[in-house]
């Protein structure tokens, strides 16, 4: 079964406050929406653990938006 944006948002709930998460545009870069290195780290660890995928440095360079992350998960699973 494919992961959805809602699945991602649930996974990130500990790293990003709910009000910020609710407003995030999945097509826009996360960094432009106030997500910093610490939150990106927490999100990446959560993605690896929750979806059983491994994010390489090369993969990481391409993950800028929530849509990028979602596409990566669904391709890698």
């Amino acid at each position: 079964m494919s992961a959805t944006l809602e699945d991602l948002k649930k996974t990130f709930a500990f790293a990003i406050p709910a009000d910020v998460l609710a407003k995030i545009d999945p097509a826009k870069p996360l960094v432009a929406q106030g997500v910093d290195s610490l939150a990106m780290t927490a999100m990446a660890v959560a993605v690896q653990n929750a979806f059983s995928v491994k994010i390489s440095v090369q993969d990481g360079l391409k993950l800028k938006t929530l849509n990028d992350v979602l596409a990566f998960i669904n391709k890698a699973r």
Partner: protein, 345 residues
């Protein structure tokens, strides 16, 4: 040897060579990275980082060569360093217990996954380093993100250091100590009766193989008192290691605390070696002097340490953000007991 002032003056005159948006690699530190590492510390902290070493490339190379620092870096194609994280020797007397930290990313690369890849790389390397037997981190409590990420990397909460670091205006910052064991054996802990139950819980949470012997608060004196004290003037913290306590132990602790107070300290921490029966009496002594339990620091002396702590000012518990029920339970142990209502009559 270059001084801190000379090194910072040189760094401040260099233009920032880092350009945004480039690919990077994450690898172990090479000696040729030292200049870039110092430049990164300067770009992130300007002249405010308290340790001189990180502004002086030769000092960084020297620490790595001596095995006191195990860094990983994020390197741009031109060799510029845009990320850094390390295992390093800090306060613990045991050289096999390293601290996990110093994670930083160049301002132009914040919002990237560099810190994640540095953490991944360091976590993978630490289990392979033969000199590393255990690792701990001090996760700040002004946010829960670091605590949560640390737990996902296998670290477990074992202590809470109240008001450890200066904050940015909204009060000092407490740190949750998170620990991960790598190589260990069964050990005997001499627990003071007043916190034996808490220590047993921490032993279980950290999945340690320990026998916890409860000692009463009577005399269990060692032959001599052995303690060391470190003062961190910038943070106003006194950190002392108690190896053993004899009959003069109470006076030695009191004198060390008084000297630290004269030097401006407002946070006082004692780490007592629980392999020593005198630690039980020492813990009780400190408790009578206003200290509270901070938690368990596994492998601090190679054997585990009991952390007792005291603050000059009451901690602001509402500023302490914790990610787990266990961490909140530790907080409840560390806070001063509420003042008791006077008894009627």
């Amino acid at each position: 040897m270059t001084t801190r002032a000379e090194a910072i003056a040189r760094l401040s005159q260099q233009p920032d060579a880092v350009r945004p948006g480039l690919d990077y690699e994450v690898e172990a530190f090479r000696p040729s990275d030292a200049e870039g590492v110092c430049d990164l510390f300067y770009r992130v902290y300007k002249d405010a980082y308290p340790l001189d070493m990180y502004y002086i490339p030769d000092a960084v190379r020297d620490a790595v060569e001596k095995g006191a620092l195990h860094p990983v870096v994020a390197r741009l194609p031109g060799g510029e360093i845009v990320g850094f994280a390390a295992l390093y020797h800090s306060s613990p007397p045991f050289a096999g217990l390293l601290e996990f930290g110093l994670g930083m990313v160049h301002p132009a690369y914040r919002g990237s996954l560099i810190l994640f890849h540095l953490t991944n790389e360091l976590t993978a390397r630490m289990t392979a380093l033969p000199s590393v037997e255990a690792v701990f981190g001090e996760a700040v409590c002004d946010t829960i993100i670091t605590q949560h990420s640390s737990s996902l990397f296998g670290f477990r909460e074992v202590a809470l250091e109240l008001e450890l670091m200066p904050g940015d205006g909204s009060g000092r910052i407490s740190c949750l100590v998170m620990f991960r064991n790598i190589r260990d054996r069964r050990r005997l802990l001499h627990a003071p009766a007043f916190c034996a139950q808490e220590l047993r819980k921490l032993v279980a949470w950290a999945e340690l193989d320990r026998e916890v012997a409860i000692l009463g608060e009577g005399p269990h004196e060692a032959e001599s008192t052995r303690l060391t004290v470190q003062i961190f003037p910038h943070a106003r913290v006194m950190r002392g290691n108690v190896y053993s306590l004899a009959g003069d132990g109470a006076e030695a602790l009191r004198q060390a605390e008084a000297a630290a107070m004269e030097q401006g300290c407002s946070v006082f921490q004692w780490f007592l070696n629980l392999a020593e029966p005198s630690a039980a009496a020492g813990g009780a002594l400190l408790r009578q002097s206003g200290y509270r339990l901070g938690g368990l620091l596994p492998r601090w002396f190679d054997d585990d340490a009991l952390l007792m702590q005291k603050l000059l000012d009451a901690p602001l518990a509402e500023h302490i953000n914790l990610y787990s029920d266990r961490a909140r339970e530790i907080l409840a142990w560390t806070l001063p007991e509420p003042a008791r209502e006077p008894t009627a009559g």
